[in-house]
């Protein structure tokens, strides 16, 4: 990764050249819409969230809510943990951290299609043809990132995947997608600082010229993202992405895998004040050969990375301010299909959440004896999102408004998950 500033210039010098150029959208252009109805004055909020996104729909019945003995149970055995619950025998390292996290075993949703489920679990809303809702990361970046003027790198980083977008909040809150090595392409302009600043100065004028012709939101968004890019290029905070500078033993602990490096990168970014990081681990769409895949491939990688993250955050005293959420778009069928696989299943499944003051070490809710149904209270995406927002100190009365006038309650008016907060 190349952090070198252009030849013959130290970083401070370079930054001073760029500083003036980063304000691409002047106040005159901050028009068009009011995004936030409830302006809040909060005390300094240091909270952050890390979403461990399990793309494909992980089989929570094999990980967090085992049904030994049932026809649907599969071959895995439950083991005891440091928390008040049992989990899969192939998550032994996580078992030692379960005093820091809780399992919600009564998730029940309706979206069992990947793209719809992905959207729904990321936004708290079902897809709607007329509006695109902001994802978790964009909401948190908008709410917490904007209170951190010192933050020069994006407030929403997605590692090893693209997450979902900012929707009506606009491209300035879109996920900054990086791979797990933290390597960012094309950071270096490679020309003299004088040329850089005269280029940027000219660009700023051209950019405004087009916006002032009433061309709509896309033109304004472009200018905002230009500004953020310039800020980022010149920021010392970019060193947070240099996951390779961590000591060997720390990197070992997280695991020499993309997911492990992603979790470590997430911790570094949160340390650098980034309020939302998503770490992607795919490969959970196990319609066939599920047990072999889980035992030998997915679970060891997950176990090492996820347990290291909880342990490390805790040891550094960061867990009290950092929410960690583990989920995918849905769970998988209790019924084991003819290919020794499990298919999509949204009716009864589990997620894991911990940190940021959420109650640790418990299992909330329960499914019936073969896992096909939730018994008692069920929770859905918006409930989880409301709970996480609450833990992050975000006011659940916050309402977004677009110029179309439609009010959108944060987390879709979800209810708090009882026992988790």
């Amino acid at each position: 990764m190349n952090y070198k500033t252009p030849r013959g210039m130290n970083r401070r010098h370079f930054m001073s050249h760029l500083a003036g150029a980063s304000a691409f959208v002047g106040s005159a252009m901050a028009m068009g819409r009011t995004l936030e109805a409830n302006a809040q004055t909060l005390t300094k909020n240091r909270k952050a969230a890390i979403l461990l996104w399990m793309g494909g729909g992980p089989s929570s019945i094999d990980l967090w809510d085992l049904k030994p003995g049932a026809s649907t149970g599969g071959p895995f055995r439950p083991i005891s943990t440091k928390g008040d619950m049992q989990i899969c025998e192939h998550l032994p390292m996580m078992a030692k951290q379960m005093d820091k996290a809780s399992i919600v075993r009564c998730m029940s949703t309706r979206e069992a299609d990947h793209s719809r489920g992905r959207y729904y679990m990321h936004t708290g809303y079902v897809p709607n043809p007329n509006i695109i809702h902001p994802s978790y990361g964009s909401v948190v970046a908008h709410q917490l990132g904007s209170q951190r003027p010192e933050l020069e790198i994006p407030a929403f980083v997605s590692v090893g995947g693209g997450s979902e977008g900012p929707g009506f909040l606009g491209m300035a809150y879109s996920p900054f997608a990086v791979n797990s090595s933290g390597r960012i392409r094309n950071l270096n302009l490679g020309i003299s600082p004088d040329r850089v600043s005269s280029r940027l100065e000219a660009l700023k004028m051209m950019e405004s010229g087009f916006i002032n012709q009433n061309r709509g939101l896309a033109a304004i968004e472009h200018a905002k993202v230009l500004g953020k890019t310039v800020t980022l290029m010149s920021s010392e905070q970019m060193k947070a992405f240099r996951v390779e500078t961590e000591p060997e033993n720390v990197r070992q602990r997280y695991g020499d895998t993309n997911f492990g490096r992603g979790c470590l990168l997430a911790r570094r970014l949160v340390e650098a004040s980034v309020p939302f990081v998503e770490v992607n681990l795919g490969g959970w769409d196990n319609h066939q050969n599920i047990f072999d895949t889980l035992q030998n491939n997915k679970l060891p990688e997950l176990d090492r990375g996820m347990s290291a993250l909880f342990e490390d955050l805790d040891q550094r005293g960061m867990l009290d301010d950092t929410a960690v959420i583990w989920m995918g778009e849905f769970g998988r069928t209790p019924n084991i299909n003819g290919n020794t696989g499990r298919d999509h299943w949204a009716r009864s499944w589990s997620v894991v959440a911990g940190g940021a003051g959420m109650t640790p070490g418990v299992a909330i809710g329960q499914t019936n004896e073969d896992g096909t149904r939730v018994e008692g209270q069920t929770y859905s995406s918006e409930d989880l999102m409301a709970t996480v927002c609450k833990a992050l100190g975000i006011d659940l009365e916050t309402t977004f408004t677009s110029t179309s006038g439609r009010p959108m309650k944060i987390a879709n008016s979800g209810k708090l998950i009882e026992g988790l907060i």
């Binding site: 043809p129 977008g165 960012i184 094309n186 490679g190 004088d194 087009f210 061309r215 896309a218």
Partner: protein, 617 residues
């Protein structure tokens, strides 16, 4: 710079004979024509190439005998110039354009919207080049258009881009890109283990679009394809790449979903596991559609290289899931109540086909293709998709969901265009022409006081009262820049060029790795894209000053400094600079202490990084 137009005049005067929409000749008529015309007509070299109507008229003037002959064949020679009324694009517009304008205007009136003014000629020209052939126009191309004083110049440009040999390759390349992204995704064939041969898919598409293949034939070929995926194999059929990865896993669920979505605009996949939450499609419907794909088998073939595979798609006898019921080959699915039900192929409109699984009795994919093409959804789906390509939004959102629960914003227009498209014998280029020459496509993206609210980003259904800004696709950027980076890539074959482009595009693409083939692109206006536009090797090349680059060409010309600045603006934005921009440009150039190429390079960099450049407006 782009190739000159001089070769326009080198056309073979008889090339129009093949597949000009209004007077498509059958192959046997063509060979009759060949016989009668003698050896002067090199028909063998013209296969599948379309050319413009003006040539037709020219040739007819030159050759009265030919006119007579055509009349004998019953061809309507005059159809190409069928009468119509005037509109924004000039005189003699096809009736379909007039109807589009009228139906769009009705909605404006209903909502009391005053449409924006027409876009300037240079904006319109840039838009048309980007949307039809996938790149911005060169300076020569814009200036030729601006200099044309004819009232029919818009039609002439569209005809040139659609039917002139000089543009056939680029036209085909652009639509190959669009359709490969649709059929196999941007990541299809790039992942390990995939059976898709991307090269094979591209070859098929390129050939189809260069020939101007009728859309029904195109769909039929893709749905029913059998043979090998890889070029060079004996039974190569590139069309197999559409379904090769989709028929085997999960009982062909992706094949069912993708064909229904792409060719019918119907989202059946949600009903796989349960009845549809929003409409009356039942789970049964999904499995009945799925049953059409159960004779199909993909078989992995040999590795051609470390990354490239071959595979074969075919249809085999299917004796039902029970394995012993060839005459009534059934499939089973589990209902939400846990009971198991059986299904046989029934099309979405209720048409049942023979239950036999014997390929010699009934080829189920063949039946599916026939029923698909006969369905009213077939024409509407492609009309909606094509409209969205040009206008930024379709008549429904999402564009590939035409189910009864999703009311189109312009229902009668969608119906009308669907019928007209069918009536044109599915002539795709004609559909493009109707839309591109329409009034809504000609409007400026500048909003006025009454139509600011007409913005789908604000949750409104589109009324098309102004042009909606949208970002260039990564491929459009690539092709637009390729013009200015000099001759390095000029001598490469089409396949090599596509491979280099594909490699470059991979930086933006990501597959979700699930059974829906979901994927995302980073080329979406976010920071990584801006970083790429600021600092990437590609931009460094494009703004370079080496011999053969745009900057070099301009800096070493005899132009005045003002003309040089004009040329840079024309090259990137297809317009001349304003007075303020000239001053800005001059100060930028002068900031480089007399180093003219470097100054122009800075200016070019600035232009490439503006919103005005990257947005289609």
């Amino acid at each position: 710079m782009r190739r000159s137009h001089s070769n326009i005049h080198h056309f073979n005067q008889f090339r129009w004979l093949q597949s000009k929409p209004a007077d498509r000749l059958s192959a046997d008529r063509l060979s009759e024509a060949k016989i009668q015309l003698g050896t002067r007509c090199p028909v063998s070299t013209v296969e599948g190439v379309e050319t413009k109507a003006s040539r037709l008229r020219l040739v007819l003037t030159l050759c009265p005998a030919l006119t007579m002959m055509l009349t004998m064949f019953g061809c309507s020679v005059l159809h190409a110039t069928e009468p119509a009324s005037e509109s924004s694009a000039g005189v003699n517009l096809p009736e379909q354009v007039v109807q589009i304008d009228a139906m769009i205007e009705e909605v404006w009136d209903a909502y009391e919207l005053t449409p924006s003014r027409n876009a300037s000629d240079s904006e319109w020209c840039r838009r048309v080049f980007l949307d039809l052939i996938g790149r911005i126009p060169s300076v020569d191309e814009v200036e030729n258009f601006l200099g044309d004083k004819a009232s029919t110049k818009k039609q002439a440009l569209v005809e040139r881009l659609l039917y002139d040999d000089a543009y056939t390759e680029e036209l085909a390349r652009n639509w190959t890109t669009i359709w490969s992204n649709l059929l196999i995704g941007r990541t299809g064939g790039n992942a390990n283990g995939s059976m898709i041969n991307r090269d094979g898919m591209l070859k098929y598409l390129r050939d189809s679009f260069a020939r101007g293949k009728p859309y029904d034939q195109f769909a039929h070929e893709l749905i029913t394809a059998t043979g090998s995926t890889a070029p060079g194999m004996d039974d190569f059929n590139g069309a197999t790449n559409f379904l090769i990865d989709k028929v085997n896993p999960e009982k062909g669920s992706q094949a069912t979903a993708a064909t229904s979505r792409i060719f019918l605009g119907l989202q059946v996949q949600c009903t796989q596991c349960h009845n549809h939450p929003f409409n009356d499609w039942k789970q049964k419907k999904y499995w009945e559609m799925n049953a059409f794909f159960r004779q199909s088998r993909a078989m992995r073939g040999e590795m051609l290289s470390s990354t490239e595979t071959s595979a074969t798609l075919g249809d085999v006898n299917f004796a039902g899931e029970s394995g012993n019921n060839l005459d009534e080959a059934e499939i089973y699915y589990e209902m939400r109540n846990g009971l198991v039900a059986a299904a046989w192929p029934v099309f979405v409109d209720g048409t049942e086909v023979d239950k036999s699984g014997d390929v010699s009795v009934v080829n189920r994919r063949e039946k599916f293709a026939e029923l698909t093409i006969a369905s009213p959804f077939f024409a509407k789906a492609i009309v909606n998709r094509t409209w969205a390509h040009f206008l930024g939004y379709g008549f429904t959102s999402p564009i590939d969901d035409l189910g009864p629960h999703n009311i189109p914003s312009h229902r009668s227009l969608l119906e009308y265009l669907g019928n007209e498209f069918r009536g044109s014998e599915f002539n795709f280029r004609q559909l493009l022409q109707w839309i591109v020459l329409s009034k809504p496509y000609a409007l400026s993206s500048k909003e006025n006081r009454t139509n600011k609210s007409d913005d789908p980003l604000l949750g409104e259904t589109p009324k098309f009262s102004h042009f909606y800004l949208r970002q260039m696709q990564a491929e459009q950027l690539y092709e637009s820049l390729a013009v200015t980076t000099g001759g390095a890539k000029k001598n490469l074959s089409w396949e090599q060029q596509e491979e280099i482009k594909n490699q470059w595009l991979q930086q933006f693409n990501r597959a979700f790795g699930n059974d829906e083939g979901g994927e995302a692109t980073n080329f979406n206006g976010s920071i990584p894209q801006v970083l790429m536009m600021f600092n990437s090797d590609m931009i460094r090349e494009a703004t370079g000053v080496a011999e053969g680059t745009l900057v070099w060409d301009i800096a070493n010309s005899s132009m005045s400094q003002k003309q040089m600045v004009d040329a840079i603006f024309m090259a990137g934005l297809s317009r001349k600079p304003t007075r303020d921009e000239v001053a800005l440009a001059k100060s930028l150039v002068n900031a480089n202490n007399g180093n003219l190429p470097q100054g122009l390079s800075d200016l070019w960099w600035v232009i490439l990084n503006t919103n005005e450049f990257i947005l289609v407006h």
